[in-house]
Structures are given as C-alpha cells and as structure tokens.
Symmetry: C2
C-alpha cells in the first residue's frame, strides 16, 4: 500500500501520521512533546521511524514547520520555540535518514493548502487563509497554486503596516495588522486599558489572554467587547487590502481568535465592507472559518505531498 | 508570416502595432487619438483593420486596456476616461469582427508582463511591477505566472491602506498608498502646503503637478523636496509590505514619479530597509526602474499573447 508520512511540528508537540497516499483518514498517528531528553529533530525522526511499517510503500514525507521555512531548499529558517532550529536543513536530514522525497512548508502555508484541498476551500481556485492566534500568519492559493515567492517567504500576511503610528508588533515594527488583531494584541490592549484603571470584570484575572477577553465579552464586559471590536475592525481593513491584492473567491479564518464570535466578526465584516474600494471584490466571495481543526497541520502536510506528487 | 496584433488603449490615444509572432520589433504601427467622431471601439477596430495585412497570418489580438478589466470574460469593467466603456465586452467585439483569439489585460498587469518578458525583469520568476503616475497601479508575476484572482481584479497595489487616518484616495477611501505617493498625491500635498502660506518657488506655477515638484526639488526647493521625500517614505513602507506578501526577486517601478530621482528614491529605499521585518526579503532583491518606456503597453500586450500562445 502506498502511504504518505506527515508531520506537524509545533513548539509544544510533534505529531506524525501515516495516510494512504490518496486518502485523508490516517492509518495511524501519534503525538509526543517537542521538548525532551533528545533534541527535537531526533525526537521527530524517532517518531517517524516508529510509525513507518515495512509492508507499506512510503512515497514521501511532508512536514509543517512552525515559523519561516524555505520550502525550496528544505530549510527551517527559524522556529522560535524550538531551540537550535535556525537554518536547519530539515528536508535533507529526513531524506538522509529515510531516503524519501521530503516536502516542507511553514504551518500557515500548509494549513492554507489543507483547507483548500480538504476543508472550507474545496473547489475554489483563489483562496486566502489567515490564522489569527498568538500572531497572524497566512497562506494564499492563487489559480490553484500555493504562492511562495523566490525563497518561500511570501504571504507573511500578519506583517503589513495598517497604521505606521500603531502599536509595536511582535516583530518589532510598528503598526502591523498582527499588532492590532492577534490574540497577543487583544490581550495587550486590555492590559493597557486595565493599567489605566479601566473598570472591567477582567481585573479579576491575572494577565487575561484573548480567550479570557472573548469569554468576558460574551458575558457583556464593555472593555472586552471594545477590545474585540477594535481587533475586528482592523482585521476588516486588512482583509479588504488583501482582496484588492489577491481577488480571491474565499477567505478562510483559522486560529483561536477566529472563535471569538460576533464581537469580533460583526465589526470585521462591517469594516471590510466599508474598506473595499469596488463592490466587485465582494461578489462571489465566501468569508468563513477553517474546518480542519486540530488536524490542520497533518492534513495540510498531506495536501502538500499530494500536490507535489500530483495525486488528485 | 505569423503575426500578433497588439493594442494599447489609453484615455488620450490608441496605439496598434503588428509584431512577428516570436519577435519584439513591430512590422508596423500607428497611433490615433482615442476621442474622435466615432466611438472609441469603432476607432480601435478601424485601426486594427487598417494595419492588418492579407499576406500575414494573424494568430491573435492582444490589448492593454486602461482601468479594471476582467481578462477571463474579456470585459473592460470601467475605463474612466473613455465614455461608454463600462462592462464593455471588448474581447467578444474584437473576436466577432476579426475571428481571432483575443487576450485582454489591464494596463498595469500587461506592463508587468512586458517588463518580465522583455524588460527589467527578464529571467526573474517573481516580480512586482508598480506604475506610479496619476494613480498607483501594479502587476505581479508569481512563479512565472501573472497573478489575476478570481475575476482578474487582483494586484490593485495602489489601493491598500497604509494609514487609516491618512488623506483621501482618488477612489474615495482614506489612507491608501495612492493617496500618499502618486503624482496626484504629491501635487495635492504641495497645494495644501502652499494654501497654508508655505514659501516655495512653486508659488510661481498655477496648480503645480508632480513633474513641476520634481523640477523644483532638483533646483533645491525645500517644500518640493519634502513632498517627494514624504511620497518616497510611504512608498518604501508599501514596498516592504509587498515584499512580505510576495517575496519577489525584483521590484520594477514605472510611471512618471519613478523619474523623480534621489529626492524620491533615497527616502524610499531608506524606509523600505527600515520597514522590512526580516533581512531575508532584501537578499537577492533587485529594485529598479522600468525599461520599456513608451512602448510598454504594446510590448506588454505582445507578452500577454505570447504567454497564452505558449510562444517562448
């Protein structure tokens, strides 16, 4: 039986699954913590070896890596939460050990491929995927192809300036959309307001995160509602920009903040509508949330391998 | 002899040229004013008919249209300077008359194709082209393909928000890069400063345009220098955003403002460098001006036809 080995490498856990080459139900899978006695790459290769089966014909290994990767050279450029993973030639390392083709992508790009092939974006040719969680990442399918750029560094959709006088982003630059609408940005806005003595039920929580803010908003907390509305409003401006840039037929939102409900989505849709400069961009446009959930990395890596292997 | 008929349709003039199918030197060409006794589409078809030759085998007609087009349906959606050209089925009209394949693109997209195939971008796989003139338009080649989006409305690179509190754009929305760095924006900034009583040699010119500002800057006028520096600074921010989005190996600048020299380019390069969030985006990056000059529309249309016809 032809199979594809997929890995979803995160800062907290490494997951590996074995899929039939043309299927989407895993034959078996396992997850382990990323950090342990051995370095992460040793843990990863050990887990792959453990899940491979001599009776099966593995066609390829595909992996979703956290942070920027160079998919053409097979490098993990920088995985901030994994010590030593800087300019790591992961594809070569896996190839040397398993003698298989290795396909590598960053998590957001791979998620975009997964949603396009198996999830909310099925049947679309032009898709934008955003993950809105600690940071904001993205992936773009244009005319049935993943947009990569010369080194695979394209579609860093969180790192575009929406206000040069805005707050400082996690990357150190001012006014990126990530600095307005990510989970971190929402929490930071609330912390700033609380520090100024703003009344809120969130004062009861030490260092409230975006999920806490979402819960408080649902309970009617005014500051929490304002924080989500602000994040949603800027996200709407950013999405409008990306409609002008990519003219997609579907925008898919994933990541924790995408579960924040109407306090985020209603102002987002409103500012999106107000910010689009020609109504043609909203025609035939689907705006929806991601469908693949927890398996997005594994299924995305599967989509990556199937795409390279021309399996339809 | 196999030939390709190309047309460059502008608000002021219509140009038509006949090229050898695999060449870039026109066999013959002619230009006429866009406005005349007959409607523009009649003038266009008349000029094509005049330049076609019965001894030649025309493979296709390719046209660059001003303003948004739907290249898939062959529609000119809106050509602001040509009366009646709204949702005009130009490709169908030309096909009905000449019984040839017709390829249509907006002027900025077609220019991007031309620069990529014949001009500054030869040999690159990932290119961004900006035209900075009255407005700001753009075109993107990603992995050797023109980025179009679902309806061909992608890469409206002038209409992205760089400051939600910025000046109003020609499209009516606030803070687009076009509202900071286009020729119109430069002239408007100067007009605003002059109205506030600012001293400048430009007071001698009624309604100075961006070219006047550029000339004054070269002569040392402080207001003119400030106007170009401001435009350049914001353009640098926008280009950095687009590097994060597309990770190209070359950025090509065309349009009148791209001739403004160091008063525009030095601050642009400076803010670009400051705004890029990872040095990888500047590696192997060429930043240059367009090469095709006045023939960009005709050569771009030729590139469009050759691309569709798989002529290399």
């Amino acid at each position: 039986m032809d199979v594809i080995i997929t890995a979803d490498i995160g800062g907290t856990q490494i997951r590996v699954a074995v899929y039939p080459a043309n299927g989407i139900k895993p034959l078996r899978q396992k997850r382990i913590p990323t950090k342990g006695k051995d370095p992460a790459h040793v843990r990863l290769t050990g887990l792959i070896a453990e899940l491979m089966h001599p009776d099966e014909n593995a066609l390829a290994i595909a992996a979703a890596a956290p942070g920027p990767t160079d998919p053409k050279l097979g490098l993990v450029l920088n995985a901030p939460n994994i010590p030593g993973w800087t300019n790591l030639p992961l594809a070569q390392m896996l190839h040397d050990q398993f003698h298989l083709p290795v396909y590598l992508g960053n998590d957001a790009n791979v998620a975009a491929l997964g949603e396009w092939r198996f999830g909310a974006g099925k049947g679309h040719h032009d898709l934008i995927y955003f993950t809105i969680s600690t940071g904001i990442g993205g992936g773009v399918i244009s005319d049935d192809r993943l947009l990569l750029g010369q080194r695979g560094l394209a579609t860093e959709l969180g790192h575009v300036t929406v206000d040069p006088n805005g707050p400082v982003c996690g990357c150190g630059h001012r006014g990126h959309i990530e600095a307005f609408s990510s989970g971190t940005a929402i929490a930071r806005f609330v912390a700033g307001q609380l520090a100024q003595g703003r009344a809120s039920t969130l004062t009861a929580i030490p260092q409230p995160n975006a999920h806490d803010v979402s819960v408080a908003a649902d309970a009617g907390d005014e500051l929490a509602i304002e924080a989500l509305e602000r994040a949603g409003k800027y996200m709407g401006i950013a999405i409008a920009n990306y409609l002008h840039i990519f003219n997609p037929s579907i925008v898919v939102l994933g990541g924790g903040v995408s579960h924040s409900g109407g306090h985020f989505f209603i102002p987002m849709r409103q500012s999106l509508k107000e910010s689009v400069f020609s109504p043609g961009y909203l025609e035939n446009l689907t705006l929806t949330t991601a469908e693949l959930g927890d398996d997005m990395g594994l299924l995305g890596a599967l989509a990556l391998a199937q795409t390279y292997l021309n399996i339809s």
